[in-house]
């Protein structure tokens, strides 16, 4: 049985993803955030401008490294080269924490470069827990895993996603990155209650929240797609407020934008709304 990793202390604050179009803003200083999050794979490199800028930003701000390619749900196990490069980045940046998604991305032959859905079965849970134990052992620290948006469920599912996440966290000692938009998207796509989802999670394990926009359903396509290319919508803000009321403490909250990235000021305005909602939700009764 794997040793439970050391706990991750809560960190409260508001941040943004560090994207190339905003490098100059961050290097100039004065972007009012408490942390930044970077996509791990973009910095699992040996040198060059991107890495130098990340190191410069890190001097002023805590950094979270957030991956999309660990493939924690792969039945074939984890990629040793990937883990070694992630470990090197972790040592270089000393991040607040390292996170990835509850998903799989590859088989032994091919990589989809997408966050593919896990069947919610006991077998899949065992695979995920074994892989998390492996990753946390290599990194020497507990990780966070994000609930993904999904576009289909499997006939063989044996439990809900929140039950899967709960047992995963309990068995491995990992923490949760709660993507509020993803809960909304999946709840709409699969017809479950977002509130029930939240209530079923071990909320004391939540260390971070993502807020993002999505591509709504259309007459031709009744599936909502998680795109991170526009503003957060009102129902997601409402779900965020509800989640904050249920959490034992304010986590690290960030706006996630990966496409159609606006000037940093626009994202700060959106982040300000996240702060205001948090102020109201977390104030003592």
């Amino acid at each position: 049985m794997a040793i439970q990793p050391d706990p991750i202390a809560p960190f409260s604050g508001f941040g943004l993803g560090l994207r190339r179009t905003h490098y100059d803003d961050f290097l100039a200083g004065g972007v009012p955030v408490d942390f930044v999050e970077v996509i791990s794979e973009n910095y699992m490199i040996e040198g060059g401008r991107q890495l130098r800028i990340l190191e410069q930003v890190r001097r002023d701000l805590p950094v979270i490294i957030h991956g999309v390619s660990m493939s924690i749900g792969s039945a074939r196990g984890l990629d040793g080269d990937y883990l070694a490069k992630l470990k090197r980045l972790e040592q270089r940046i000393d991040p607040l924490w390292v996170s990835d998604h509850l998903c799989w991305t590859r088989t032994s032959a091919h990589n989809s470069h997408d966050l593919l859905p896990m069947p919610l079965t006991r077998e899949a849970l065992q695979v995920v827990c074994d892989n998390i134990d492996h990753a946390q052992s290599v990194l020497g620290r507990a990780m966070l895993f994000e609930n993904p948006s999904s576009y289909l469920t499997f006939p063989e599912d044996e439990m809900s996603e929140w039950e899967f996440l709960s047992e995963m966290a309990q068995r491995t000692g990992c923490y949760l990155l709660l993507d509020v938009n993803n809960i909304y998207v999946s709840s709409q796509n699969h017809g479950f209650s977002a509130e029930e989802y939240l209530a079923g999670l071990p909320l004391d394990r939540v260390r971070q929240m993502h807020l993002a926009g999505h591509d709504p359903a259309t007459p031709e396509r009744d599936i909502i797609i998680d795109t991170h290319d526009r503003e957060v919508i009102e129902p997601v803000w409402a779900l965020y407020a509800k989640a904050l009321e249920m959490l034992p403490h304010l986590p690290a909250v960030m706006i996630e934008r990966d496409e159609h990235i606006p000037p940093v000021g626009e994202l700060i305005s959106e982040l300000d709304r996240a702060r205001e909602i948090a102020d109201r939700a977390m104030e003592p009764a």
């Binding site: 040996e46 470069h113 593919l116 695979v127 576009y151 289909l152 063989e156």
Partner: protein, 264 residues
């Protein structure tokens, strides 16, 4: 075998096969909801690969125009589905796809090769090139044997190949297209990094085999032998000329900042 008796590994193989190829039969037990979801994953996969190729090959895309570039991207992605964890890898070998598709315009493959080589350099380990003065100081006491045994360390991921087209002119002119880009004689296209900025230059064609040999560990004496070529019985003038040519090359490499170490 029923869907429930398949292992997770088998299910994942079948799922990804269906993402890659919509002709693959749907897994057992799937209905319309799963089919609709699978269509989203297929769309995500294609747009991710097309996006990565467009980002890596920005200038090749400008040169070809959107329609031809999209065709080349789709052909490449179908023929070479990615296997590595970094999506950038989907661009590997795109120059060969271009060579096969645009045989009448071989400059397209050369341009694609150049963009890939530049991408590789952008994330290469940082290094400090030797200046000509550094090299002169370090080699001031060299005797004949020292020179013959001299090995050079190059910037990591420097690439070189012989090209038949004026890539400098093509690069500068984009998004406009130069109609006449064939060089009078082939040149060696050499990529390198100036601080953090990938760049390239065109040198005489014989630099290509010379740099390739030196990167693989050939000594300066062996370089002179390479420059003598097939001459199995060189006279003193031949050797003198080859040594002078090697010296000129070394000077050019130092001037371009390609050399980072002596006898690494």
């Amino acid at each position: 075998m029923s869907a429930r008796s398949k292992t997770l590994a088998e299910r994942q193989e079948a799922f990804l096969a269906s993402v890659l190829d919509e002709g693959t039969p749907a897994p057992e037990g799937w209905g319309n909801r799963q089919a609709a979801g699978m269509a989203v994953y297929r769309g995500n996969y294609r747009s991710a690969l097309m996006g990565a190729l467009a980002e890596t090959y920005e200038r090749t895309a400008l040169y070809l125009g959107p329609e031809l570039f999209a065709r080349a991207s789709i052909n490449h992605a179908i023929a070479h589905p990615p296997s590595g964890w970094t999506i950038d890898e989907v661009g590997a070998g795109f120059d060969q796809t271009c060579a096969a598709m645009f045989g009448e315009n071989p400059e397209v493959a050369e341009l694609a090769w150049l963009e890939w080589a530049m991408l590789e350099l952008a994330t290469a380990p940082d290094c400090a090139p030797l200046t000509p003065q550094d090299f002169a100081s370090a080699s001031a006491e060299f005797g004949e044997e020292d020179w013959a045994g001299l090995r050079l360390g190059f910037q990591p991921r420097v690439s070189v190949r012989v090209v038949a087209h004026d890539l400098e002119a093509i690069w500068r002119a984009l998004p406009e297209r130069h109609e006449q880009t064939t060089l009078v004689e082939p040149r060696a296209c050499v990529t390198s990094r100036e601080d953090e900025r990938p760049t390239f230059t065109l040198l005489e064609a014989d630099h290509a085999p010379a740099i390739a040999a030196m990167q693989q560990g050939a000594s300066y004496g062996e370089l002179i032998a390479i420059l003598l070529g097939d001459n199995s019985d060189p006279g003193p003038d031949d050797i003198q000329n080859a040594a002078m040519r090697a010296g000129a090359m070394l000077g050019a490499w130092l001037g371009e900042g390609l050399i980072t170490a002596i006898n690494p």
